[in-house]
């Protein structure tokens, strides 16, 4: 694991990736703090992160697009398979290297509240509490990015899908107000989701039976629920969209509450997607 970690880290710092990522993050946070703290003279540093989190939409896919996709393209994944290290070690090593690349610019941002303190009252606990949440949410998005990269051998494709998914997650709360909250609307939306799940399972496992089996089971469940307890489905879709939104949970931190359930949610999100990445890599051995 440490070998993969060091190797990845070297790679980021020799290429422009780490610097571009850091620069983007610092620019986003910098503009945010200029607008909020300096221009509007607001002393809450945490608001800056609500602005900074939008940068994730672009910088996370840029950072994660090549993580596994490029290994596949260059056929270096064969080396990783043949070395005496497990795929779990590979994925965790890569994830930790990404965390370091992400943490470095954030350390620089960590100085800002201290600077502002010289000129006014900054409430330190919420500033740094939000910064920690910002880091953990970013880590969750990085885990998602690794998984997306493991699905393809095309970096551009991985980046495109990554941007779309994170953008959707960013706006899912505002969008949820517009989606239909009737039971029938939910059924249609769930059908679309089931088709997406079917496509994903089929792509990863190449197992038709499993993909169709899962899809039909879910459709059957959906129909049964709609038939007997349609009121369960009312408003379910907007609710799910809100619950799954990483950014919505982050707004709780910005409002000054250090929400432990939010942290636990992010951590489970990380574990879930790293697990999926390992499975996606393992699956390649069977094809």
């Amino acid at each position: 694991m440490s070998a993969v970690f060091r190797h990845e880290l070297k790679l980021y710092f020799r290429s422009l990736t780490a610097y571009v990522f850091g620069a983007f993050l610092l620019v986003a946070v910098g503009i945010g703090s200029m607008l909020y703290n300096l221009s509007y003279a607001v002393s809450n540093f945490e608001y800056v992160f609500s602005y900074g989190s939008l940068a994730f939409v672009v910088i996370v896919p840029i950072l994660t697009m090549r993580v596994i996709a490029e290994e596949r393209k260059q056929k270096t994944d064969q080396l990783l398979y043949s070395l005496p290290i497990t795929t779990t070690e590979v994925v965790i090593g890569k994830f930790l290297a990404l965390l370091v690349v992400f943490a470095i610019p954030l350390c620089i941002v960590g100085i800002y509240p201290l600077i502002f303190m010289q000129y006014g009252d900054v409430y330190i606990p919420t500033s740094y509490g939000t910064m920690i949440a910002f880091f953990v949410m970013g880590a969750a998005l990085l885990a998602l990015g690794i998984f997306i990269s493991s699905l393809t051998d095309n970096q551009g494709f991985a980046a495109g899908i990554g941007i779309a998914v994170i953008l959707f997650n960013y706006f899912s709360v505002s969008l949820s107000e517009y989606v239909s909250s009737t039971a029938f609307g939910s059924v249609v939306a769930f059908l679309v989701i089931i088709i997406l799940i079917w496509a994903l399972i089929r792509h990863i496992t190449k197992n038709e039976t499993l993909a169709y089996g899962t899809a039909f089971a879910l459709i059957a469940l959906l129909v049964i629920v709609y038939w007997f307890k349609a009121d369960l489905l009312e408003g379910l879709l907007p609710q799910i969209m809100t619950t799954l939104s990483l950014f919505d949970r982050f707004s709780v931190f910005i409002n000054g509450v250090f929400d432990w359930t939010g942290i636990v949610y992010y951590l489970s999100f990380i574990v879930f997607f790293l697990f999926l990445s390992v499975q996606s890599l393992e699956k390649r051995r069977y094809n």
Binding site: S2, A3, V4, R6, H7, K10, L11, R14, S15, Q74, K75, T76, D77, Q78, L79, Y81, S82, L83, P84, I85, T86, K206, R285, Y286, N287
Partner: protein, 323 residues
């Protein structure tokens, strides 16, 4: 050292490896020979843990590759068909990564890297970008990677493909040298190459093992009767007449060459070709036929290989028909 038992691999419906079993001992160079698509790379990928098998078992020095992959992989150095190189790195950085991943640290790592650099002769390019290296050097960096950690078994998948003749000779020498201290398995579809370097040959066709043994043994075992080509300074009738007394000959076909000489193709069922050629010489000398040239054609591995591959394809066709 390596035991492969009833290995079978399906890609979807396509049967790539069909109930393959063999055992490989310690030391020596083993050649994996087969036409393209015979299942060589698939077998090697499974042996090194890069690919799963549909069924079957592979044991490397007591460790099952599917059950104790970490321990088994430590004993293997593998160069896949396309060398898995990080193009933006120098060979030095690349080897450092691979060495660390194989569990080497500090002085041991440095020492090992120095050793494999010397063995593969990549010293002059060790700090250049891998993407700028020639194909031969890339291949050597790939081999160097496989040698790190001093594994007992070295598996090389078509290491000489795409190299120029000089590079091919160098790589072959290297493989021969490696065979002195390691068990080396390498695949090729070029027969002369396998014949030149290997102590033992495994022939694979259509996912099945068709022959296993030393090159000379295989030749002897499968060699059909040989042929003698004779060019004489007389006309064809006189040549045939002279040879008619030699009873070891089973068939003669002759023709007249443009310069008045004659040429005969002599076939024999006799195992010892020299005995036949001696008799031909004596018969010609007795009848006063001037022999200009006599060439013995022994059945070589090429014929054996083509025959076995063809036989196997025939069997497979029949099986398909029966099903």
């Amino acid at each position: 050292m390596i035991t492969v038992e009833h290995l079978t691999k399906y890609y979807g419906d396509y049967l790539a490896v069909n109930d393959l079993s063999f055992e490989i001992g310690e030391g020596h160079v083993y050649g994996f020979l087969g036409p393209n698509g015979a299942g060589k790379s698939t077998t090697m990928n499974i042996m090194t843990g890069c690919l799963s098998a549909t069924s079957g078992k592979i044991v490397i020095d007591g460790y099952d590759i599917f059950e104790e992959p970490q321990k088994a992989k430590k004993l293997i150095g593998y160069l896949p068909e396309q060398p898995p190189l990080y193009m933006n790195e120098s060979p030095m950085e690349y080897l450092t990564f691979v060495g660390e991943a194989k569990g080497l640290r500090g002085e041991a790592l440095k020492e090992q890297i120095g050793e494999v650099i010397k063995q593969t002769g990549i010293r002059p390019v060790v700090n250049r970008r891998i993407s700028d290296l020639s194909k031969g050097y890339k291949q050597r960096v790939g081999i160097a990677q496989a040698l790190l950690g001093n594994p007992k078994v070295i598996i090389l998948d078509e290491p000489t493909v795409g190299l120029d003749p000089i590079q091919i000779i160098e790589i072959r020498d290297l493989i021969r040298k490696l065979g002195q201290n390691h068990t080396v398995i390498f695949s090729s579809h070029i027969l002369s190459e396998v014949q030149a370097i290997c102590d033992q040959i495994l022939m694979i066709a259509n996912g099945k093992l068709v022959a296993f043994g030393a090159p000379q043994e295989l030749e002897k075992k499968f060699a059909s009767s040989g042929k003698i080509e004779v060019t004489a300074g007389t006309n064809i009738h006189k040549l045939k007449e002279a040879l008619s007394n030699v009873d070891l000959i089973s068939d003669i076909s002759g023709k007249i060459l443009s310069n008045g000489y004659s040429f005969a193709d002599i076939e024999t069922e006799h195992k010892d070709l020299y005995e036949v050629s001696g008799a031909v010489f004596n018969a010609c000398a007795k009848e006063g036929v001037t022999l200009l040239e006599m060439r013995l054609k022994k059945a070589d591995l090429e014929d054996v290989f083509l025959e076995l591959a063809a036989e196997n394809a025939e069997i497979k066709k029949q099986e398909v028909k029966e099903n």
